[in-house]
Structure formats: structure tokens, C-alpha cells
Subunit: 339 residues, 2 copies
């Protein structure tokens, strides 16, 4: 299945918008051959395109408003003509195949839910983040779209993640695990204890049991399901810990004169590694369960991150992610009923 | 205030019990000058002491049973004569000043609550872990004693942690922060939103606002309060992420022949760093809010970790941690009533 429709890039969202966003979109067009539409304030975007000598290469769709990075969910109601709202509208109309935005996560989630609506049967759309495990990433979801959920939603997150893992990482029968605080079935709070029971009984899902915080980066599961509060704390804790470890290491290297020589040699490898750990490398998080593909690039994304996010958006929409999720949710509904 | 009573070491708890536990206790006696009592199976402990030529240096208190590392909370009821139960009993009787155990955390928490009881006014005893920030550690609690709590408990965890930070880290007016998923007051789930309101109004507490997962290792707060589910996931995620970063780095070093020379020089610094990140260095977690000091050494502790845990236990009990917590809780109760 091939989808030749363009990707809509929200050019006004992100710490480095619009300049780096436009640079990333231009990169996606030129180096990846992806069709891209920019959404935002025409005058500003025209100038940014001119900087790259790309004025006629990317179409611009007008959006006079934008959500600020510190604006939350409510802003999406107050600003129906924001760049992210218009981008979602283009998906809805079928003019584009997917949206990429580096704007405020809360704003993207709220706008996406409002404009694209949840797919039929999906209780709660969720944010899936690809953790840098090998040989393929581990998907953690929900990474923050839903601070409070029912146990049933944790089962659905498993299905959403499994559909993504099958499509994007080529995993057959993805192992879905539940994030909690002990490996035995009875461990955790009320939410996860009940979710454990439901996951064990869930048809069409390869439930691999409980995992703990240690296991996020061990590749023990292909998909890890959790509520958005826990998932967000875990994700940010991980990012903070990795940054801490590298900072400490950089200081150690700086402190020791003898070590400096070897350190020079290692610096490029360190960079490669921290790159792999970084959102830039994998293109960002994906909001799953909506009637349309929405890729949430890291707020601090520069051109490379935006370009990678466009690739991810194109791959997921070409692979028919929304349809696959729809089929999965529908078939679990049927299995439930037929039991 | 000086407390010359010994520390009771649960010699049967831990992955490397009893040999490494006894070695650590012997180290605490010989190198730190701390009085220590071993609790466990006399014959086994006698032999372990003989290995160190220390048969008459440390008294042994008999406990014929022990909790296995995979035994949880219920085992403490089934085994009233386990080494951890006897150790707690010695604290209760006033024969020793504190307990050190590297046994199953769930077992220690359950036994501690049962034998020592919560201090008057304490809703929920909690596990505090010292994170390796500089210039002094950041305390994270609850790290796993309570999977489900009410918002009021998060305020008390702030007080428990503040008392610990004042005593052990010499922090005046410790900054207490709330772990959640956004820095604004309205962010998070129901539990933390309500806890935020209570913390803002809490007398005698320096509430420093919300922190996110990123901030666990930045030293932005002296005490971070959270429920035991979130705290445990965050702690294990952090440990996993740091281990991951070092493993990746070690592989990078191994891969590159040119980098190997410098790497040799850096290895000792890496070791120092991973040591600081390790439980061995700071002596372990502390179960706060009981009528007695209980230090929970990491299950994988070897002699150095046990010896450091004995030092921590001695420092906390000499400093009157239990009394300080009691005064804090009592005074907040009074302030509440007088408002």
C-alpha cells in the first residue's frame, strides 16, 4: 500500500520553531524524497524557505495562530486556527497523510483528540515512545497522554503498541509487558493488579507478564504498557539519569589529564551513543489511537529530528497504522463477544 | 546525644548472606568502631566469624528462621522467629539502637511495621532512598513501602524526609518537592493534584513545588515525595538507565582499539562514579516512621555495603531520628489544630 499524500508539518511548534522546523522539512523533501506541506504563518515561513533557496519546493498552508510551548490542553480550545489545529484538519479532510509537530505535548494531544477523534473502540489515545533497545526499540506507552486511566485502557495500550511494533519494527507477536513494582502477579497498586488479570485473559495479545523499571532498556519486552502518569515519570527519569551519567563521565574525563587523549578518541562514540538515546534519532513519539497519524517530535528538536519525524510519519501512514489499529481493536471486541 | 547500644545486623538476609553480611559486620566493628550484634543461625554465624578470626568479637543472637529473598510481606506473619523479626524485637526491647538488613524489602517492611509499629501520628512508614546528587544527596520517598496512598501521606513523607535530611545531610529547611508530570500546580493525577494543595498549606514544611522525573538527579530539591508505586518505578528506572549508559559506554570502549589506551586510564574513574551511584556507597535505604531505625541495605550488598549501612544506622540512631520525626509530626498536628 502506497500513500502519496504529503505530511503536514506544524512549522510553528517547538523550541526552535520555525527556523529548524522548516530546515528539517526541507531536508525531508530533498534528502528523503518525502512530500511535505508546511503549516503556519505564511510570511515567516516564506522567509525561512527563502533562506534555504526552497521557496517553491514546499507548499504553505496558512495558520495565523500558534500554541506556545507552555500552553496546555485548554489552549487547543481557545485557538481553533492554530497551526497544529489546521494540520489536524488537513488529515481529517484527507489532504495529508499524517502530522508532525514539535509543539507542546499537551497541546498536540488535546488538539489531536478534538480534531481527529479517537478511533472507533479506542478508549484512550496514548503516546508511544520508542526506547533505544536492540535489536529493535521497546515501545513504552502511555508516556503521558492520560494521567488517570482504568485497567481496561492498559490492555488497549498493549494492542496499540503491538500494532505499532509489528508495523514499524517488524516484530511478529510482540511481547507486551505491564510496568509495575515486582515481577509476581500480585505486585503493584490496584490499577495494575486488575490490569494484570485482564492482560492474562486478553485474546490476540502476547502478554509477557510484569516488568519493573530496570527492564525498560533491557529489551525484555517489545511493548510496555502503563498509565500516562507512571509512563511519563519513568521516561523523564530515564532521560535525566542518562544525561546525569554522561555529565558525570564528561567531568571525570575533564578532570584527568592522562585520560584526555583517549577521551578525544571516544568523544565521537559518546556522541553516537547519546544520539541513539536521543529523540532526534528515532523521530519522536507517536500519538496512537486517533483517526490519523500524529508524530510528536521532541520540543527541542532541530532539523535532523524533524526530518526523522517526517520519515516516521510517512512510514507509519504508508504502512496503514490507523487501519491496523482499527482491525486489532475490532477483532478483540469480537473475540470478547464470542467468548 | 550518644547512644552506645549496638546495631543488630540481620545476618541471614541478602543475596550474599551470611558470608558477606558477617564480613561487613566485622568491618564495621573493626574499622568503624561500631558495636554490632549478629542475628541468625548460631552455628552458621559462628563459622563465618571464625573465617575472620572474630569469634569473640561479635555477639550472636539466635534466630532459627530466615525470610528468603523471594518471600514477600506475608512471610513475616508466617515466620515470627525469623532473623529480621528477632532483630526488630531487639530494637523494641531497647537492647539495640537500630537494625540493618539486606533481606527482601517487602519482608523487612512488613516485619518492621508488625514488630516496631508506626510512630504515633505517622499514617504510613515509608522507604527513603538517598540519590547521589551533590553537594548532598536528594531523598526520594516513598520508594516502595506503600503502593497506594492518600494525598495526606505524601505530605507526611515530606516531613519524614525533611527530618532525615536535616539530621543526615545537615540541610536547614529542606526543600520538599512533589514528583509529578509537569511543573505547574494543576499537573498530574488526582492524587498529586490534591497533595499539591495540601503541601502548599502545610505548616513547618518548605514546599518547593512540583518536580518531574528529570529532576531526581539535579539537586533541585532536598526531599522528593511520591507514592511508593511511582517512587519504586522511578528508582528502578534510574538504576536501569545508569547501568544501560555504562554498559553502552563500556561496549563503545571495547569496540575501538584507539580508544582503549585512554579507556584504561578512565576505568578507575568510571568505577568511582558507578560506586557513587551504587547503594554500596550510601549505605542503603531507610524505613522511616517506625518506633526504631531500620536500614534496608541493597539485596546484592557485599561487605562494604553492609559496613556502610551500619554506619548510617549508627548515625541516624545517635542523632535521634525517631525522636526528631516524632516531634515534627506532633508539631504539625498542633499547628493544624491551632489554625
Amino acid at each position: 500500500m502506497s500513500d502519496s499524500r504529503p505530511i503536514a508539518v506544524d512549522a510553528m511548534g517547538g523550541d526552535h520553531a520555525p527556523h529548524e522546523i522548516v530546515a528539517g522539512a526541507v531536508h525531508a523533501v530533498r534528502e528523503r524524497g518525502l512530500p511535505v506541506v508546511l503549516v503556519g504563518a505564511p510570511r515567516v515561513l516564506y522567509e525561512a524557505l527563502a533562506d534555504h533557496g526552497a521557496t517553491n519546493e514546499l507548499p504553505i498552508v496558512r495558520a495565523e495562530e500558534a500554541l506556545a510551548m507552555d500552553e496546555g490542553a485548554l489552549a487547543s480550545l481557545r485557538r481553533p486556527r492554530s497551526s497544529i489545529a489546521i494540520a489536524c484538519h488537513l488529515v481529517r479532510r484527507g489532504d495529508v497523510s499524517a502530522v508532525v509537530s514539535a509543539g507542546s505535548t499537551a497541546g498536540i494531544v488535546a488538539t489531536g483528540k478534538l480534531r481527529l477523534k479517537a478511533q472507533q473502540g479506542v478508549l484512550r489515545p496514548a503516546i508511544a515512545v520508542a526506547l533505544p533497545t536492540l535489536p529493535h526499540p521497546t515501545l513504552l506507552l502511555d508516556a503521558g497522554a492520560n494521567a488517570e486511566v482504568k485497567p481496561e485502557a492498559l490492555v488497549q495500550f498493549g494492542h496499540l503498541g503491538a500494532a505499532y511494533a509489528e508495523l514499524a519494527h517488524g516484530v511478529e507477536h510482540p511481547r507486551v509487558a505491564l510496568l509495575t513494582i515486582g515481577s509476581e502477579a500480585g505486585k503493584g497498586n490496584k490499577l495494575v493488579r486488575r490490569a494484570h488479570e485482564l492482560l492474562e485473559a486478553a485474546p490476540g495479545l502476547h502478554f509477557a507478564g510484569n516488568v519493573e523499571g530496570y527492564d525498560l532498556l533491557t529489551g525484555k519486552a517489545d511493548v510496555i504498557t502503563t498509565d500516562g502518569f507512571t509512563g511519563n515519570v519513568a521516561l523523564k527519569t530515564m532521560e535525566g539519569a542518562v544525561r546525569y551519567a554522561f555529565d558525570e563521565l564528561r567531568q571525570s574525563i575533564g578532570d584527568s589529564p592522562v585520560a584526555r587523549l583517549g577521551a578525544l578518541m571516544q568523544r565521537s562514540r559518546l556522541r553516537e551513543l547519546s544520539h541513539r538515546l536521543d529523540a532526534e534519532a528515532h523521530g519522536g513519539a507517536v500519538l496512537l489511537g486517533l483517526n490519523g497519524t500524529v508524530v510528536i517530535a521532541h520540543g527541542s528538536s532541530r532539523a535532523a529530528g524533524i526530518s526523522a519525524a517526517c520519515q516516521l510519519a510517512a512510514d507509519l501512514s504508508e504502512g496503514g497504522l490507523v487501519t491496523r489499529i482499527g482491525e486489532r481493536i475490532a477483532s478483540t471486541g469480537r473475540s470478547h463477544r464470542s467468548r
